[in-house]
Amino acid sequence: MIKLPTFKLEPVNLSRDEFRSLSLEGLWRNNPGLVQLLGLCPLLAVTNNVVNGLGLGLATIIVLLASNVAVSAVRNFIRQEVRIPTFILIIAANVTIIDMLMKAFFHDLYNILGIFIPLIVTNCAVLGRSEAFASKHEPVRAGLDSLMMGIGFMLVLMVLGGMRELVANGTLFSQAHLMFGEAARGWVISFGKDFHGLLLAALPPGAFIGLGLLVAMKNSIDQRLRKPAPKAATVAAAPSATAGEAA
């Protein structure tokens, strides 16, 4: 008879520094889109404009957060041998809920994002955080980590979507009404009807070129930050440097 560990609420003492470092990790140093290069399939496929990026980004955040808090809560009950299928089951359940909710409340956006909502199940960024972080930490830390990773991912989706939308169509926030209701129709920023949009940016190669430019930009900013203050950077850069090379 296997003796199950008993479930108990763990004490959480999250220091200010740890909060900062966890947030920075997800938003910048170990960003899933720019450093880990995980979840590239949706990242490249739906970033035609800002609103699509925001929609998929929000869905991913919710899945990440719900799944990893759940994973973290049950981590002591799951046997090592079956942990990956269990994580996938938990993630799939959450994705199904999001899928149905989006179908019900944001139907037009759901039609645009299409297959990429169910495909969040296979987004390596989600499973990656379950395996690498949530299964080793208590729910509060796992939740914070997931939230920051999710926001980092969403920001990349939105920036890439914005870049591509701007270059290809000369607009920003088009189709905002799909998410924010009819009032948002006026949010569209347009740069003139005479704008000769670069069609390439809207096509798949544009997504790859855009992501490449974003990664290059991040690396060059890091390089510039590291130069003037080598002392502070060695501590901060050590984990991210290895992650960057692995990615």
Binding site: D194, G197, L198, L199, L200, P205, I209, L213, A216
Partner: protein
């Protein structure tokens, strides 16, 4: 410098000397184009070189490289010149600016500058524009209909800087020979009827055959000067002629002749001036043959069954991608091992 060494077997020339000779070789063809297209070619040329030098200077400054020696090595001028003759005459200024942006900033400097770029900069600029602006990129005027006497200076300024809509092009833009063959064959017209159209000349497209002969002249001079080796042009044109010949013999009513493939479009310009770019081409003799034969093959495939009338840019980029692989497998064996 880093690539002059394998572009000639005799005394190593530096980059600027090599590039200057390439520019000389481009002159006859360019003069003919100037005769055919008048102001439209001149504006293309001035804009391309102006934007090219401008972007190059900005990128060099940004990357903290010495500006003057790199600006004066003529490599960016060769890129700009190739785009000036590759883009349709009377191209709007923003089209040329975007093409040079892709060529110089993205394809060249973001990869590390001259000598480190895996893709031919001019062809990346061309392909990006062709994918993005198919309408503007295929609006070639008919040769001689848009020469100096036909389109005035003011009208040129209107076309290039005035943001004239593509509709105003209909007056003098005409489908090229390759384009006509492609669209007419789709409607099952017999080739003989298609050849009778006035866009066809005695070898290829009317007018274009002369331009291509001029490129050939310049290319042969480059060969004689030992700036380029025979491998790339020979394998490039050889494979194109061979494949075109095979299909032509099987069914001359469906497939155009090898001669037509040689003298329409950019095959000769590509074989002597574009595919031979020493940075992006294969470096071993056997590798050069494989690389260039691949380009010829892809040109025929895309021209005949693909969605675009001509395919030099796409074919060169596709083969650029496999150059490291080709180089790896064609390393000559060191003597004695």
């Amino acid at each position: 410098m880093m690539f002059a060494s394998h572009s000639t077997s005799t005394a190593p020339l530096d980059v600027s000397q090599v590039m200057r000779q390439v520019l000389y070789a481009l002159i006859p063809g360019t003069l003919l184009l100037l005769w055919f297209f008048g102001w439209g070619l001149l504006t293309n040329w001035v804009l391309a070189i102006g934007f090219g030098l401008g972007f190059e200077a900005i990128m060099l400054k940004w990357r903290q490289r010495p500006i003057q020696p790199f600006l004066l090595d003529y490599s960016v001028i060769v890129t700009a010149w190739l785009l000036a003759v590759a883009l349709p005459a009377y191209s709007p200024w923003w089209l040329m600016a975007a093409a040079m942006l892709f060529a110089v900033v993205i394809a060249k400097h973001l990869y590390g500058g001259l000598g480190y770029n895996p893709f031919n900069p001019a062809m990346v600029g061309y392909a990006a524009m062709l994918v993005s602006y198919p309408l503007q990129m295929t609006a070639w005027p008919a040769p001689l209909d848009a020469g100096f006497g036909q389109v005035g200076f003011e009208q040129t300024m209107q076309l290039v800087f005035g943001g004239a809509s593509p509709a105003s092009w209909d007056g003098f833009s005409a489908a090229t020979a390759l384009d006509t063959v492609k669209t007419d064959l789709r409607t099952h017209k017999p080739l003989m009827d298609i050849y009778a159209k006035e866009t066809f000349g005695w070898l290829g497209g009317r007018g274009w055959e002369w331009v291509n002969l001029a490129w050939l002249l310049g290319g042969l001079w480059l060969l004689r000067q030992r700036i380029i080796s025979w491998h790339i042009p020979a394998a490039f044109l050889g494979s194109l002629v061979l494949i075109a010949g095979m299909f032509w013999i099987i069914d001359p009513a469906q497939y155009t002749s090898p001669l037509f493939h040689l003298f329409s479009g950019a095959a000769i310009l590509g074989a002597f001036f574009i595919a031979t770019d020493p940075v992006t081409a294969s470096t071993t003799p056997r590798g050069k043959l494989i690389y260039a034969a691949g380009i010829g093959l892809f040109i025929y495939i895309i021209r005949t069954w693909g969605g675009y009338p001509d395919a030099v840019a796409f074919s060169v980029i596709i083969m650029n991608m496999v150059v490291p692989l080709i180089d790896h497998y064609t390393q000559p064996r060191v003597y004695g091992t």
